[in-house]
Amino acid sequence: MIDEKHIELINAEIDGELSSEQRADLSGYLLRHPEARALRDDLQRLCGALNRTVQVPPPADLRDRILGALPAPAPRRHWSAGSSRPVLRYAAVLAGGLLVSAIAFQFGMDGRPGPDAAQVAGTMADPATDHTGAPVGTVRIDTPQVTGRVNLYRAASGLILGFDLAAREPIEVVATCGGREIRFSGLGRPDPISDHRYACTMSGSATEAGTVTLKFYAGGKLIRAEQLEAPAG
């Protein structure tokens, strides 16, 4: 039977925490007690093997699975620069360096080149304030490339698509309604900007009841297609 004190000393020796006085004590004890010597030898071998255990690499897809499963970023209350006018707010955000490269093609402009982001006055909406009611439809996206959600709201100005996405690479979204398209390029750029929230008002006849189809592209490949039902206003 090995006493508690010497079991502690054996473990302290293994952990490299033995003082010279304790070492002398333990040495004498081990000489007198062969079962303690056997325990010490076994534990040294065991702990040596444990300490030499090499960590195995995690699965290659673990990081992507974790990042892909993160919830969408929480809405920010002070996303805009403070102006009450959506167009000016968007311009302020641009001036602030967000450099959103979303390009919106208004409904009714299909077949023609769309204006650049600075010229789409009236089509970009403030995602924080231009739609205060509950969404009439929501799709959730959870892919390795992009996660988050797209909400469809009805506002006086028409239907608003609210994108609340976090993407690991540039994403292109094509929204189709009534055979016409809105195309958003560069949503969720892989830069330090973490708050990828955009909104776009769809005005005109296409905002009647119908189905809005959303197609998400990454690297030119379709990664997800979803539909939102737009009720009549």
Partner: protein
């Protein structure tokens, strides 16, 4: 670099910077996965636990006490999640079947496959609370102080539990003729 420290990354995460969180994942995915693997001996379960751990970390970063070491908190979640999986597994498999073994690691070739395999099997035959201290001390290289913080136990209790765990492992290995 200061900006690479856990505290700075946590602060950036709290500010909504997902790339900072990605760096934390990169930093801790290996130890978390390995801790779960040693606790569960099943790579699929370990992967699921690791994913759950980081999602919980992400959700609760705002509540993380800055005085507490981030890795201690992460390891605590990893152990608790692993023990939860063991609890569910126990309910499903009351007799405890043969769990799938993990892929042999480089340690097997370097340091004696028989003993390492014996240790992995023996680990599964001691209680999870004993397994946890072995994992923390020998696989995650935690100090007794850190172990006390992770397990919320006095250092003295941690030591006595570890010493008991080592002896239990030794007894199992002797029974199996692996040591």
């Amino acid at each position: 670099m200061q900006e690479d420290g856990d505290g700075a990354l946590v602060q950036r995460c709290r500010d909504g910077d997902r790339r900072a969180f990605e760096r934390l994942v990169t930093r801790y995915e290996r130890p978390v996965f390995n801790a779960a693997l040693r606790m569960l001996r099943n790579p699929e379960d370990a992967r699921d636990v690791a994913q759950t751990v980081f999602l919980k970390v992400f959700e609760h970063l705002a509540d993380c006490d800055p005085k507490f070491k981030l890795y201690s908190w992460i390891y605590r979640i990893a152990l608790n999640e692993s023990i939860n999986v063991l609890g569910r597994r126990k309910r499903l498999e009351p007799l405890g079947g043969d769990e799938p073994d993990e892929t042999p690691g480089p340690d097997d070739e370097l340091h004696g496959e028989q003993l390492n395999r014996g240790i992995r099997r023996a680990l599964m035959r001691i209680k999870p609370e004993y397994r946890a201290v072995i994992v923390l001390r020998h696989f995650l290289e935690c100090s007794y102080h850190d172990m006390g913080g992770i397990l919320e136990l006095p250092e003295k209790t941690v030591k006595s539990r570890l010493f008991a765990a080592r002896q239990l492992l030794r007894d199992v290995l002797r029974q199996d003729g692996a040591i």
